[in-house]
Each structure stands twice: as C-alpha cells, then as structure tokens.
Symmetry: C2
Subunit: 370 residues, 2 copies
Amino acid sequence: MTQLSTEKKMSCWLGDYNDTSSLLDAMCRQSIPWLEGEGKENDIIISSRIRLARNLKGFKYRSQATPKSFVSILKTVLDAVGQVSEFYGYVSLNLNTCTKSEKNFLLERRLISPGFAADTIPRGVVIAPGEKVSLMINEEDHIRIQSMAPSLNLNNAWEVIRTIDNKLSGILDYSFSEQFGYLTACPTNVGTGLRASVFVHLPALTIAGKIKQIFEEMGPSEVAIRGFYGEGSRVQGDIYQVSNQLTLGRVEKNIIKRMHLVAQNLVEKEREERENASVEHRAQIEDRVVRARAIVKAAKLIQSTELLQLLSDLRLGSSLELIDPVDYRLFNFLIITTQPAHLQQIFRKQMNSTERDRIRADYVRSQLPI
Amino acid sequence: MTQLSTEKKMSCWLGDYNDTSSLLDAMCRQSIPWLEGEGKENDIIISSRIRLARNLKGFKYRSQATPKSFVSILKTVLDAVGQVSEFYGYVSLNLNTCTKSEKNFLLERRLISPGFAADTIPRGVVIAPGEKVSLMINEEDHIRIQSMAPSLNLNNAWEVIRTIDNKLSGILDYSFSEQFGYLTACPTNVGTGLRASVFVHLPALTIAGKIKQIFEEMGPSEVAIRGFYGEGSRVQGDIYQVSNQLTLGRVEKNIIKRMHLVAQNLVEKEREERENASVEHRAQIEDRVVRARAIVKAAKLIQSTELLQLLSDLRLGSSLELIDPVDYRLFNFLIITTQPAHLQQIFRKQMNSTERDRIRADYVRSQLPI
C-alpha cells in the first residue's frame, strides 16, 4: 500500500470504486457483520464496540491547531494506515469532499460521529473491509480507532483493535506520558483512551420505567449511557449505548471485563423483566406489539424515529413469541437501512421527507415477514 | 312542581330514579339528542350551544358570598325552575353529594364545567329531560343556563333558552343595569351574558397547520377558541369550541348571526381543505386514516385522549370515503361514552386506568363497524 501517493488518499482513496456513491451503493448491498450476532445474548445485546483515542506528539491538539497542521496530521496518519495489514483493502474518505447525504450515510452506519459529520476542518475516515474497523482522523483527537463486533464480544473487538494500535504505535509517535498514559484532547479520555461500549436493547425495562434506577445504581461516574449514535444522540428504539466513564488509572483488560459484567447484568435484568412483568406492564407490552404489527402492515408513511420504536416493539414481540419469530439480525439490519440517507442510497434518489416516509413504509413492509 | 320541598330538591331531586347512580345508568342507555345532528353540516359541525349568565339582585357575587348566601341562591333558583314548564320532568343534583366519578360523568356529558366540578361550595345542576337544557347554580355566576342543539342550530338553541330566560326573569329578580345590561361576575360576560358556541370538527385544517392563521384572521378579540370541555380544556380530537368573545353592546340576535356565519365559513374552509389538500397533506390524511383503523382493530389498550384522535381520523376517513362510511352520530356518541367516567358507568364498575384502557379498546371495537 505504501506506493499510493498521500495526495490521492487524502482526496479520497476509493480502491476499486469509481466514486463515493458507488462505494456507498456497494455498502448498501453488503451485510453489516457487526450487526450479525449469533449466540445467546443476541436478542438483547446488538453489538460491542471498543474505541481508542490517540494523539500525535509534535502536533497541536484540536483547539489550537491550524488548517495546515490538520492536513499534516491527515497525511501522517493515512501513510501509517497504509502500512498496517489489518487495513488492507481499505477505503478512505475526505469528509470535505463528501455531500451532506454521504456524511449522513456514514453517520447512520456508525462510521463517523455527529460532531465529525458537522465539522468543516480537514478530516477523514478510514474504513477497513467489512466495516468492523474504522478510524477517524481529526475528530476530537487526532486519531479515533473503532472496532465493532456483533453481540457481546468485547474481547474480540479488543484483540483486533489492540493489534492495530500496536502496529500504529510502531509507526507513529503517540502523545504518551509515563505518569498519565495516553494524552487526549478531553481529560475524560486520558489514560487508556479507551471506551468499551455495548449496544443493548432494553424495551421491557424501558416500559417498566426501571432504566433510570438501574443506571443510577451502576454509578453514573462509572458507566455512561448514550443513544445509538453516541455522544449527544438521544435514545431511540429502546437501544442504549452503555460504556465506561473512567479511562485513567485502569488497565484496559479491567475496563473491558467490567463492561462485560455490566452487559451481562443488563441482559439478566431485561430477561427477568420480560419473564416476570407485572400484569400492567405485560398488558402494555402486548398492546405495543400488536399495535406495531398493525401499523407496519397498514401505514402509508412512517418516519425514521417512529420506525425505530416499532422495530423495538416487534423485536420484543418476537422474543416473547407474541408474533411469529423474526431473525434478530433482520431487525438490526433494518435499524440502519431505514434511516434517511440509507433509504436514498438504496433507492438511488434524493427524496423529500414525505417521499422517504412513504418509501420507508413500503420497504419495511416488504422486508419484515409479519 | 311547586309542591316539592326545596330541601328535598337541594339534596338532589331525582324524579323517578332511586339514586344518582340509577339516573346516570339511565342516561348511559339514552341517546344524547344534541349529538344527533342530521343535515348538511353534520359532518363538520357537531353541535351548537347557547349559554346565558345571570345573577340575582340582592345576593352577593361569588367572590364575596358566604356559604349561607350560596344556599339561599340555590333555594331561590330551584324554586323558580320548578315553575318553568320547559323544565318539567327535570332532575337536579347537589354537587356536594356527588362522588368524584359522578361529577366526572356530568363533566364528560358537558352538563357542568371543569371549575364547577372542582369547586366545594353549595352548588347544583338542573337537567331537563333529553339534556338539551341544563342550568348550573353557583358557578361563576348565580345562574348559567345552557341550551344545546345538534349540528348548526344556534337559532333553535336560542329560541329555547330565550323562552326559559323570559319565564325565569318573571319569577327571579335579575341584576340588570339600564346602561350595561345583565351584570355578571366577570366583566367579559356583562351585557347580554350570552355565549354562542359551535363545536366544529376540523381535522383537515389541523393536519394542514392552517388553524392558527384562520382563527387569527377572525380576530381573537371577537372569537374565542377552546376545547370540547370549555374554558381551560385543551383541544382534543380536532374538535374546537368556537364562540363569541364580546357580549357587551351587542344585540343577542347579532351575536348569534355572526357566530352562524363564522361556523359556515369554517365549514367551507374545512371542505375546501378536504377536497384540495396538497399532495403532502393528502398523504398524511390517508396515512392517519389507515393507521387509525389498524390501531382500533388491533390495540389491546387505548387511552381516552388517543381515542379522541383515532375517532377524529376515522370520522375524516369516513367523510372522504377512505373507509366504509360510518354514521357521524356514532362518532359523536363514542366521543362521550368512551370517556373514563362513562365507561365505568356503562360497565358498572370502578376500574384502574389500565383496566379502563382495555375495556375501552374492546368497547370501541365492538361499536365501530370498520
């Protein structure tokens, strides 16, 4: 990979694809491996994620950096990425050459963050084949590496990201302090720079109104709760991103172990609630499930936010056998592909919101065997 | 009627009924004539209402009155009512002997106001057979007489109430000023003391977001907009109570004529919107109608507020022939009978909200031929 000119990679390195739109088209037709979990926690844990925050010695942090230094960072990181075999076959996108729809597509795909999409500085995203590993350059930190794994597989995600991080650290000069560990733009990431997250589907606990108390008991200083699309995104479709708050003074393995236990504990609580819901909550669950099925079958228009809730209700209904069972992977897939930019990419046209709502209603009806 | 002791009437005069509960039972089985409009505006105008505010000379206004004077007013007015042939066969209820459920029933039936239900002073309601005429004693004013008529029939309601008012004025000594007209507790009612209202169902204009502008154009100082249950109640099920603001310096006939024109104008605008909705609003209308049908058919639980919206959507769907036509009178009837206190009276049991929501879903499904 090293023979590629950095200039070319910076303006978008698309590999075998003609242009960004062709790449996104291909992504629409591919499966999303990190959503394809099998195994016993698959009904509740959608996926696991590890991300590392890294910065380069000799370059200013984001708040003090100049456009020129952003470009230097981009060049430096892209050159390093080209030397890491785990990225072989990667594509990279310069965000400033992407359209709004393309940025939204990447956001819906969870390859970039909302802040990164909205930014205007020179910045890029690197996506390894299969989308299990990706890397943002010039987000809050110079480098944000992400490793995704299906269902409850934090260890697997950690092994992958650790290998890549080790290789990159052999090429790049990371900002590192013997006393504190990895230095980051925001003090909350200093130390390991590691965030271990699980995406958990907790509809029964949500209906029962027990979420707040459960998360309070976990200790808000220890565990952070966010929506599916990360910081600043609200919880939709009863899917919570649960991750560690503390990164300093901890060993990576321990953070991951702790989050694994948190996830298992949530699975247990959600199962308990599904099995032993009170008469009142049981009635609410049944009502939601039959309504969701009726609405998906009948509606002419469905907004994306509403659909996330309908999919959540049906997913729960499937788990409780209130409707004919549906493969969880289909729900996971639809969570992503029914979002606005994905719909436009799948149907290859720009649409206004009413058109999208109509196409979305037809599309989800054609996909879901209910 | 004059031979009845006032004491008995004050503690509740129930006519042929054994107790309040038997009365309400009978009311549940009777039709509600003012909701049974026929004729050309029936799809949009649900009913018409005239109310008069009157006070008695020699008695203090509400804010300065003592419990003793409230009792005197009650006695005086009940005696007068017994002498008016239009009230023949009436019942009267002392609100302080009614249970919360009974008061809610009367409120849902539009026989008393929210403020009157919540009050604690000696006060009563007189209901003429058929519920087209009723009278609150010791509401904001000493007397509030109400005349209801189905569909757009303000003149009819006016003729009825005028006759009663004339007769009462021959028995009672009204507070009246040559300069201002009838004197009332709140200055906004001084003059004629008349409020002429129409209850209009405006779903298409609501979906199109045109309601605010239309009412602004009518002149907010001239026309007041409220919910179905009057002052302080919010608009539900796209049903607006539209009435005159001004009562002073106007002749009754002119107020009524003006409100009749306002109602006709609203009918015209709503029809225009139903026929010529934009592609986007047409799509929204169709979506709402098919969803409402699917939800009513499937739901295990339906809350009363949601049901008002579902009935509104189906009423519109029936009018536009998006579903098999349903008699408007059935929708009007269900608007009242699916409210919490009515459900409890119909099914003769106190229920918690989840039980009511379940019974309501079953009940509406059994009633609506969709």
